[in-house]
C-alpha cells in the first residue's frame, strides 16, 4: 500500500465492466461461445430473427448504412496514405466487429484481414485487456502478430473500441499492407527471415494511443523500425482515420435507431450470415470429399549467408482436403502437410483463416451478407507443426503468402468441381496464378537516400481459366479482389529502376480448352542507384497446382538478371536494345546485352546487389487452364498467337493447331489423339514401375524429405501413402527431418503444460 496520497490515487479501483448488462467483454465472449456450442447458432439465436422478420426493410437499411460507412471510410482514408500499395492498389480494408470480436460487416479491399482482426480482438478480450492495459473510449490498439491474428507482419492493423454510454458496443478495425516492415531483408513479403526475430516491426496486440491520439513513443518507434518511415507514418494515420470514420458511422446509426436495435442487429446479422453460408453450400455444392494437393519449392541450399540449419532445399507439400458434410459444414483439412521450416513461408491458423475468408468472399458468399457468420459454418484442421500451423514461438511468418497462395489453389479447384456438379458452370474457375515474381528490394534510391520497395504489379497475375471463358489476363490477385497493378510512373518514382518495357508474357498461361489468364513481364533497368539489393520470389521448379479437367498448370518462370552490363554502350552506339523477352529460348536480352548473367530457375533468392545499368526481368505468372487443349477452338489459338499470348511454335504440340490451316488442324488433332493412345499406358501398369521408384526412394533429397515429413507428421497420410503403393507398414525414408523433431517436442511440451 502506498504511503503517499498522490501515489495512493494510482491504486486499482473498482471499475464497471465495459460489456453489456454488467458483464465484462471477456464474459460476453465466453457466453457467446458457450451459446454457440449449445445451440449451433450465433448467440443462441436459433429461432426466427426478430428484427429481420418484423421489419426487413429497416434491417437491410441498417446493414447498408454500416456497410456504406465502411466502404466510405476506406475510399476516403486511403487518400491520406502516400504508399502506392495503399493509395493506388488499395491494399487496405476496414471492418466492424461486435464487442466479442465477431465481424459484422466489411469494406471492399484486402478483405483477407476481416477474420484476422477478429482473432486479434478476441485475443485482447480473452486476455483481459479490459483490466490491463484497459479498454476505454478513445483508445487505439494495433496488431501485426500472426500468432495472435494476422497473415504476416507487413499487414498492420489498427483497432479502435466503440463505446456508447459507457458500454463497449463494438470495434472498428483497419489494415494496410506496408511496403517495408523493417525485416531482415527489405520489403513487405521478406524472403530473408528465418525466425520471428527477423520479421521486422513486432506489434503483438498493443495499446498505442488514448483520447484518439497515437502515443508519441509508438510513433517514434515505428519511424525507426522501417526502411520507409514516411509510408509507415501515413499508413498508420490512414488506418486510424478510417477507424474513426467507421466509429462515427456506427454512432450515427445508434443515435438514430437506438442502441438496443443496434445490439440486436449485430447479432442477428451474424447469425443471418451463418445461415446464408449454410444455405449457399446446400444451394451450390455437393457433399463429399475433395482433394487437391499443391506444391512449391523453397530452394535455400544455395544461400551461403544462411546458417547451415536453414541452408536447405525444400519441396513444400500442402495436403489440401476439403469436405462438405451432409449438415452443410465446410471442413478444410491440411493433415499430411509439410513441416514448418527455418524460412519465412510459415503460416498460423489465423493466416489460414484469412485465406479461407478471401476465397469464400469471391466464391460462395460474394453476393450475400459477408461477416463472421460464414466462419461459424467452417471447421478447419491445421495440424500443429505443419506449414499451416507452425506452432513454434520462434518461427517466421514474414512471407506466409509463400505457402498460402499455392495451397489455396486447391480450395478453388475443389470448389469448382462442386459447382460444375450442380450445373453452375458460370462460376467454375481453375486455379489462379501465383502472385509472383515479387520485385522487391532495398538500398539507395535515385534520390541518394535509403529506401525499399515491394512492387505490387504482382496484384495482376493471370486468373484461372473459367468453364465459359479464358482466365483474366494480367488482372487478378486471389487475396485482393480488386486487382490493380498500379502505374509504372508511380513505381518509377519510388524505385530506382526504369521500365524498359512491360508486356504480356507468352506461354505463362496454363493451356486448356480455356486457357488460364496470361501473366506479363517487366524489364527493369537499375537507374541512379549505387546499390539496391533485389530478391526474386516465385516458383521455377514446381508447377504448384494443375488445371481442371485436362487443363495444364500455369508455367513456372525463371530468373534473368544481368549485372555489370554493357547496356549504356549499346545505347551509345545507337543500337536497338531489348525491352522484353517473349521467348527465353530465343532471347534478345541474352544476345544483345553482355554482363554477369543469372539466367536459370533460381526464382526464390535472398537479396543480391544491383546498381545503375544492371537489368532485372520480372516475370509475372499466369493462371491454370481448364479442359482438353485439343478442344480449344482454332480461332482462339490463332488469337492467342496474334495477341502474343502464345508462341506460334506451341500451337501444334499443345493445341493440335496448324496456324493458318484449319483443315490441317483437324488432321493434326486426330494424330495427337492417336499419339496419346500410343504413348500412354494403363495407369496400373505405370503404377507397378513407379512403385519400385517409391520403394527405392529414387528421388532428389528435397522430395524424399517432403515425403518423410508428411509420413512422420500424419498417421493418416502415412497410412494412405503406404496403402496406395503397397509398402511395408513401417515404410519411411532414411533422411533427417529436424523440423519434425522440433515440432513434436513443442507439441509434447504444450501438452504437458496444458
Amino acid at each position: 500500500m502506498a504511503i503517499v496520497d498522490s501515489t495512493r490515487e494510482l491504486e486499482p479501483r473498482e471499475r464497471a465492466p465495459i460489456g453489456w448488462e454488467g458483464r465484462t467483454a471477456q464474459e460476453m465472449l465466453e457466453e457467446s461461445e458457450w451459446l454457440f456450442a449449445q445451440s449451433g447458432a450465433y448467440w443462441g439465436l436459433d429461432g426466427d430473427l426478430e428484427l429481420k422478420g418484423a421489419d426487413p426493410i429497416r434491417y437491410e437499411k441498417l446493414f447498408s448504412r454500416v456497410r456504406g460507412g465502411l466502404v466510405s471510410a476506406r475510399e476516403t482514408a486511403l487518400n491520406i496514405s502516400a504508399s502506392p500499395i495503399v493509395k493506388e492498389i488499395g491494399e487496405l480494408c476496414f471492418a466492424l466487429y461486435t464487442p466479442e470480436g465477431d465481424s459484422v460487416a466489411l469494406s471492399t479491399g484486402i478483405i483477407v484481414h476481416v477474420h484476422t482482426m477478429s482473432d486479434a480482438i478476441k485475443h485482447m478480450v480473452r486476455s483481459a485487456y479490459e483490466d490491463n492495459p484497459r479498454i476505454e473510449p478513445g483508445d487505439i490498439f494495433t496488431n501485426n502478430d500472426a500468432m495472435i491474428g494476422d497473415v504476416h507482419n507487413a499487414d498492420v492493423q489498427t483497432i479502435v473500441p466503440i463505446f456508447f454510454e459507457g458500454e463497449l458496443v463494438g470495434w472498428a478495425g483497419g489494415v494496410t499492407h506496408e511496403i517495408d516492415i523493417g525485416a531482415k531483408t527489405p520489403g513487405g513479403v521478406p524472403v530473408g527471415p528465418i525466425s520471428r526475430f527477423e520479421d521486422g516491426i513486432d506489434l503483438p496486440a498493443k495499446k498505442i494511443g488514448s483520447h484518439d491520439e497515437l502515443w508519441r513513443d509508438h510513433v517514434e518507434a515505428g519511424k525507426k523500425g522501417t526502411r520507409t518511415p514516411m509510408y509507415w507514418t501515413l499508413d498508420e494515420r490512414t488506418r486510424l482515420a478510417g477507424c474513426h470514420m467507421v466509429r462515427e458511422a456506427v454512432e450515427r446509426v445508434i443515435l438514430e435507431e437506438g442502441v438496443d436495435v443496434y445490439k440486436r442487429f449485430v447479432r442477428e446479422v451474424i447469425e443471418d450470415g451463418r445461415r446464408a453460408f449454410k444455405s449457399r453450400l446446400r444451394e451450390m455444392t455437393v457433399p463429399g470429399r475433395y482433394r487437391a494437393p499443391a506444391f512449391i519449392e523453397l530452394p535455400f541450399a544455395k544461400e551461403a549467408q544462411l546458417p547451415s540449419y536453414a541452408r536447405v532445399d525444400h519441396a513444400l507439400h500442402a495436403a489440401v482436403e476439403l469436405r462438405i458434410t451432409r449438415d452443410a459444414v465446410l471442413e478444410l483439412d491440411y493433415d499430411g502437410t509439410s513441416a514448418w521450416g527455418h524460412h519465412s513461408g510459415n503460416c498460423t491458423p489465423s493466416s489460414m483463416q484469412g485465406a479461407i475468408w478471401v476465397m469464400l468472399t469471391q466464391t460462395l458468399i460474394c453476393n450475400d451478407k459477408v461477416n463472421d457468420g460464414a466462419y461459424l459454418g467452417l471447421r478447419a484442421n491445421f495440424p500443429p507443426g505443419t506449414l499451416s500451423n507452425h506452432s513454434n514461438p520462434n518461427a517466421s511468418t514474414g512471407n506466409a503468402w509463400y505457402f498460402l497462395i499455392p495451397s489455396f489453389m486447391g480450395f478453388i479447384k475443389s470448389l469448382s468441381r462442386s459447382l460444375q456438379a450442380r450445373g453452375f458452370v458460370e462460376e467454375v474457375l481453375a486455379p489462379y496464378g501465383l502472385t509472383a515474381n515479387a520485385f522487391q528490394g532495398g538500398g539507395i534510391t535515385q534520390y541518394g537516400t535509403p529506401g525499399a520497395t515491394t512492387n505490387f504489379g504482382l496484384s495482376c497475375v493471370g486468373g484461372g481459366a473459367k468453364m465459359l471463358l479464358d482466365g483474366l489476363d494480367y488482372g487478378a490477385a486471389m487475396w485482393n479482389p480488386e486487382g490493380d497493378m498500379g502505374d509504372m510512373e508511380m513505381w518509377e518514382l519510388i524505385e530506382p529502376f526504369l521500365y524498359l518495357g512491360q508486356r504480356v508474357k507468352p506461354n505463362t498461361a496454363g493451356p486448356g480448352r480455356h486457357r488460364g489468364g496470361s501473366g506479363y513481364e517487366c524489364l527493369r533497368l537499375a537507374w541512379k542507384t549505387p546499390f539496391f539489393e533485389m530478391q526474386n520470389i516465385g516458383n521455377g521448379r514446381m508447377f504448384m497446382q494443375s488445371g481442371l479437367w485436362g487443363g495444364y498448370p500455369a508455367a513456372p518462370a525463371y530468373r534473368h538478371n544481368i549485372r555489370d552490363t554493357d547496356f549504356f554502350a549499346v545505347v551509345a552506339r545507337g543500337e536497338p536494345y531489348p525491352v522484353h523477352e517473349p521467348d527465353p529460348a530465343d532471347s534478345a536480352l541474352e544476345r544483345v546485352i553482355s554482363g554477369t548473367r543469372q539466367f536459370d530457375l533460381e526464382t526464390t533468392t535472398l537479396p543480391e546487389m544491383m546498381r545503375q545499368g544492371d537489368l532485372y526481368l520480372s516475370v509475372l505468372r499466369g493462371g491454370a487452364g481448364l479442359g482438353d487443349p485439343l478442344e480449344r477452338p482454332y480461332e482462339s489459338v490463332m488469337e492467342d498467337i496474334d495477341g502474343d499470348f502464345l508462341l506460334a511454335r506451341y500451337a501444334e504440340p499443345v493445341y493440335g493447331v496448324v496456324p493458318g490451316d484449319p483443315d490441317a488442324t483437324e488432321a493434326a488433332r486426330a494424330a495427337a489423339r492417336d499419339r496419346r493412345g500410343d504413348e500412354a499406358v494403363p495407369v496400373r501398369e505405370w503404377m507397378a514401375a513407379e512403385r519400385e521408384r517409391v520403394l527405392a526412394g529414387d528421388f532428389i533429397e528435397p522430395v524424399r524429405r517432403m515425403y518423410a515429413e508428411s509420413l512422420r507428421l500424419s498417421q493418416r497420410w502415412a497410412a494412405e501413402f503406404r496403402e496406395f503403393w503397397d509398402l511395408p507398414e513401417d515404410f519411411d525414408y532414411d533422411i533427417e527431418t529436424p523440423e519434425v523433431d522440433i515440432a513434436k517436442a513443442l507439441i509434447a511440451q504444450a501438452g504437458a503444460t496444458a
Binding site: Q420, R422, F424, R673, V683, F724
Partner: protein, 166 residues
C-alpha cells in the same frame, strides 16, 4: 436467375452474350439448374444410362442398376464405381523429362522434372485428356472428388437417389 432450356444451352455452349452471363452470375441461383443441366447433358450423350451427377468435363456418374453408380465418359467408356478413383482405370502419359515438358512449355518455363512431373490422364475410349496432375514423382494418384450421392439426393435435394438399391 432461371434460364430456359435454350438459354442454358447457350450458356454452356458459350453463345450467351457476356452481359447476360454476368447477370446470371450476379443473380440468385436457380434451384432448378441441377436438373436442367443434367437434362442438357443427357440429351448430348449417345447412351441412355441416367446421369445422376455431372463429374467434370466429359465425365458423368451414371446409375447402372440398383445401387450401382459408375463413372462414365461421353464416349461411353465406363471406368469404375463412383467411390473409386477413375484415374486408376485410365491411360496415363507422364512428362518426366525436359524434352517432354518442352512440348508444352518453353525453355526455362517447364519446371524441373526431378521436383515435379506432369501426369496426363486420358480416356481409354476416346483419348480425351480428362485430368492433368502436377505432382512430385512418387506422389499417389490424387483421388480428386468422392461425392456423397446418397446424402446429396436424399438430404439436400429431398428425393431418392435415382437407381438406389431398394
Amino acid at each position: 436467375m432461371k434460364l430456359d432450356a435454350q438459354g442454358l444451352r447457350d450458356l454452356v455452349d458459350e453463345r450467351l452474350p457476356r452481359g447476360r452471363v454476368r447477370a446470371v452470375q450476379s443473380a440468385h441461383k436457380d434451384p432448378g439448374r441441377f436438373d436442367a443441366y443434367i437434362a442438357l447433358l443427357q440429351e448430348r450423350v449417345p447412351w441412355d444410362d441416367p446421369i445422376v451427377l455431372p463429374f467434370g468435363e466429359h465425365l458423368h456418374i451414371v446409375a447402372k442398376g440398383p445401387g450401382a453408380f459408375v463413372v462414365k465418359c461421353d464416349c461411353g467408356h465406363e471406368f469404375c464405381s463412383h467411390e473409386r478413383n477413375w484415374k486408376l482405370e485410365a491411360l496415363v502419359r507422364v512428362r518426366d523429362d525436359v524434352e517432354s515438358l518442352r512440348e508444352v512449355y518453353p525453355e526455362k518455363m517447364h519446371g524441373d522434372p526431378e521436383w515435379n512431373v506432369l501426369r496426363e490422364y486420358f480416356c481409354p475410349g476416346c483419348r480425351a485428356q480428362l485430368e492433368v496432375e502436377a505432382v512430385p514423382p512418387g506422389y499417389p494418384v490424387v483421388h480428386d472428388f468422392v461425392p456423397d450421392l446418397e446424402g446429396f439426393y436424399e438430404e439436400w435435394l429431398g428425393r431418392p437417389l435415382p437407381g438406389a438399391a431398394a
